[in-house]
């Protein structure tokens, strides 16, 4: 169970980026550890290693991911996924079709293929929009197919650096089963809807050691509704995603059950970042996932073109502003600095000390029209591309920001 749940948790983190995400192609590798907690079972831990690659060409996106997990209890498993998105011509109303196929391989559990298809309709209105989708999922294990369908609708709005999204969905599933091997409590309690130790019958699974059980999670036919809110903040490579929701079975007498999760990415230097997540999830019968609490911590390294994304110190931002009648470069977001320097293509890359005036740092000369490359240095630190500008690697192992002045 550990491996299965962890892989899907990581699978979500490594899944396809949103449509139109800014990359021609990009790859990332991630290594870390995770802890999973389920009712009635001992906590479990695993080491994880993941690789993801993604390419966007015009209106098509294609991506793949592979994750391997090694549980401290001796289990292991792998998860591979390929997904493709095809979009219609961009406009106020856009359509897209996403198809994803995955294979789950785990010790003693065989291969579990899953195929999901999701057509989606999106309406853009400036800094907000609406969307609606249908998703169909089929999954096979132990020679038995099960299916699920979900209808979803929602909207989003951009608020500064935040993207806030609200979603409502209804999910219908057939009955299903998923088996993993887990360390269980000496006498695993049997709770309705929870992990059930069962006798395999036709395919007995030998117990590799004391306290290790084959655990099947059984899902009956389900109908439930969810309302969910997601807030995403991103700035200079850092990212925070908060999610919370409520679920209620569509049967009389049922009550709302909450779930929540948070994921954070903190850029270190160059192409490295720390990724952490914590969540309390309800079961996902469509994908055979039981309810669990998961915490993970890992290190991610970006590969491929554009991966070198060194960050400007503490949000040093460059823009153009008029001062003393001239169009001058201004650096903000470095209030505590004692010295800020700038070098640029239009200055033949000679470093220029900026002057502190009116709460910002100003270049003591006007900026000519043209396509310029610039870098800033704060308190004799590294030369980096300012935040907020497109950046590219130069030919001398550095990076520069791109500024075009009409």
């Amino acid at each position: 169970m550990l491996i299965r749940r962890l892989l899907l948790a990581l699978g979500a983190a490594l899944a396809m980026p949103p449509p139109g995400a800014s990359a021609q192609w990009r790859a990332e590798a991630e290594a870390g550890g995770a802890v999973l907690r389920q009712d009635g079972l001992a906590d479990a831990r695993a080491f994880t290693l993941g690789l993801r690659a993604f390419r966007e060409t015009g209106r098509r996106s294609l991506g793949g991911s592979a994750v391997a997990a090694l549980g401290t209890e001796g289990g292991w498993s792998t998860f591979t996924q390929v997904a493709a998105i095809e979009r219609t011509t961009p406009g106020p109303l856009e359509g897209e079709l996403a198809v994803a196929g995955s294979l789950f391989g785990l010790r003693d559990g065989g291969l579990v293929p899953t195929l999901a298809m999701r057509p989606r309709l999106l309406a853009f209105r400036g800094d907000w929009g609406l969307g609606a989708s249908f998703e169909g999922v089929v999954r096979q294990q132990f020679g038995r197919w099960s299916s699920a369908a979900a209808l979803e609708g929602g909207g989003w709005r951009l608020l500064g650096r935040w993207r806030v999204e609200g979603t409502a969905r209804v999910v219908f599933t057939e009955e299903g089963i998923f088996r993993v091997r887990r360390i269980a409590s000496p006498t695993p309690p049997i709770t309705p809807g929870g992990p059930q130790p069962v006798d395999d019958g036709e395919q007995p699974i030998p117990a590799p050691g004391p306290g290790i059980f084959a655990v099947d999670t059984l899902f009956g036919p389900r109908r439930y509704g969810e309302v969910e809110a997601t807030a995403r903040w991103a700035h200079a490579g850092a990212e925070l995603v908060l999610q919370a929701g409520l679920r209620r079975e569509l049967d009389p007498g049922e009550r709302w059950r909450p779930y929540a999760g948070a994921t954070g990415t903190l850029p270190l230097t160059g192409r490295w970042a720390v990724v952490a997540s914590a969540s309390r999830r309800l079961d996902e019968p469509a994908r055979g996932l039981p309810a669990a609490s998961v915490g993970s911590l890992g290190v991610r390294v970006a590969l491929g073109p554009g991966a070198e994304e060194a960050r400007a110190p503490a949000g040093a931002r460059v823009d153009l502003a008029r001062r003393d009648g001239a169009r001058r470069l201004r650096v903000r977001g470095v209030d505590g600095a004692t010295r800020v320097r700038l070098r640029a293509s239009f200055l033949a890359w000679e470093a220029v000390d900026l002057v502190r005036e009116a709460g910002a740092w100003w270049m003591p000369a006007s900026v000519p029209s043209g396509a310029h490359r610039i870098a800033v240095q704060v308190d004799d630190g590294a030369w980096v591309a300012p935040a907020g500008l497109s950046r590219e690697a130069d030919e001398f192992d550095g990076e520069v920001g791109l500024l075009v002045v009409p």
Binding site: G160, A234, G325, P406
Partner: protein, 209 residues
């Protein structure tokens, strides 16, 4: 009076600084590489600017020499694609677009769409878009659309800034580009044609050819 003279003095200081750097000789090894390329027809200004970039950034001479040779090839390709009448800055911007992933044929198509209009700002914005991860065909199509509709430089910059703002907020650069081009296109006349490559034949050739 002080306020009026301030910006003039600043501009004069900057210009003097740049002239002094332009006049400084390159180290002998780099000068040899540059002279060789110039004799082959490559423009000296943008080539030496690349050399100075390496020098100011403290790169070893051998590395700079290698970069200069590559830059010479790109500058020659860029000039051939966008025309000998282009300014040094224009050719340099086109060469940087090549380095960012554009093809020489793409530059030619931009020139066809631009007619006599300078490609300095369009190439700069195009490089920005590529750096933001917009797919090259998509970025090229957007720039060509704006050129065909005779968009002003500030409108190119407006599109680029919109993409950067959207990307900084975590949104889609590609979709922001499409929205930006659409927003500007509706305010412009139809110009020399649409985005269909077949329309390019109706665009005046550089120099009225």
């Amino acid at each position: 009076m002080r306020r009026a003279l301030g910006p003039l003095l600043l501009v004069a200081c900057a210009a003097a600084t740049m002239r002094a750097q332009d006049a400084a000789p390159l180290p002998a090894a780099l000068a040899t590489v540059a002279d060789s390329a110039v004799r082959a027809g490559v423009r000296r200004g943008p080539l030496e600017a690349k050399a100075w970039e390496g020098i100011r950034k403290g790169a070893p001479e051998a590395r700079i020499a290698g970069v200069l040779r590559e830059q010479a090839v790109r500058l020659a390709q860029a000039e051939q694609a966008i025309g000998a009448r282009a300014s040094d800055a224009e050719v340099a911007a086109a060469a940087e677009a090549l380095r960012a992933g554009l093809a020489v044929a793409d530059l030619r198509s931009l020139r066809l769409a631009a007619g006599e209009q300078s490609l300095l700002v369009p190439c700069g914005v195009l490089t920005q878009l590529l750096a933001r991860g917009v797919a090259a065909p998509r970025a090229l199509d957007a720039m060509r659309t704006l050129l065909l509709r005779r968009a002003a430089d500030r409108q190119f910059v407006q599109v680029g800034s919109g993409v950067e703002a959207e990307a900084a907020r975590g949104g889609s650069a590609s979709l922001a580009l499409d929205r930006g081009v659409r927003g500007i296109s509706v305010a412009l006349p139809a110009g020399g044609g649409g985005t269909n490559p077949a329309d390019r034949t109706s665009v005046p050739m550089p120099g009225g050819r």
